[in-house]
Amino acid sequence: MAGTDVVMAGFGGQGLMAIGKILAKAAMDEGLQVTWLPSYGPEMRGGTANCVVVIDDQPIGSPVVRQAHAAIVMNKQSIDKFEPTLVDHGLLVINTSLIDRRAERGDLRTVYVAANEVAESEGSGKAANMVMLGAYVGATGIVSPKAVEYAIAKTFEEKPKAAESSVRAFRRGYAAAQGQPS
């Protein structure tokens, strides 16, 4: 495989860091090289939080990426910030629950998913991040859904309920990505 990377951005509290780690763990478990890097505390509060995951089958150079191959954006600020920075024909996974516009660039591959609504319909509004992760994995096939589901289970080892709803949300996102990207 050729190396790839994805930036995940949204408000603090939307769980972007968490899905980044889950993706990283899934990749590791599949024997890949991986790095996860948070946009670590601007020592200031508010605004957006993001992390970037790099996955490769060769040793990874930079854990930091200026032009990502893909972005998972969960709020308006994030799409504004990261859409322009993606590589040509990059992938943009957009949470339509909180973002009321479409991608502006014509070259991008896009996945639209109403993550918050979908998650709520699965019984846990908090799992919108998992929906987004599912959509990304569905659109890219970068790791197997099984690996992700295992990573989710591990992450919520002590909260089986959360694990379950997370997996459900992940699957819904995964499925949603099948018709797309356009």
Partner: protein
């Protein structure tokens, strides 16, 4: 009528103003502001006594309160 002006762009939805208004006039709105918060809004403005408490506790300095002068 007394007037309470909330700077919605500054509001971070901390609900401090909500909790101090004796008249319970302030509520979180459905809007989302640029920072991603649901800013508060005033309902029943007629009931406002312009006591100023909401403005006093707002950490963002985001509330101004004006009292209508008595007629005459």
């Amino acid at each position: 009528m007394n007037r309470v002006v909330i700077d919605k762009d500054r509001c971070k939805a901390c609900e401090m103003c909500v909790s101090v208004c004796n008249k319970e006039l302030i509520e979180i709105s459905d809007e989302l502001n640029a920072k991603g918060y649901h800013p508060v809004e005033l309902h029943d403005p007629e009931q406002c006594t312009a006591c100023g408490l909401c403005a006093l506790v707002c950490p963002e300095g985001g509330i101004a309160v004006y009292k209508a002068k008595k007629a005459g």
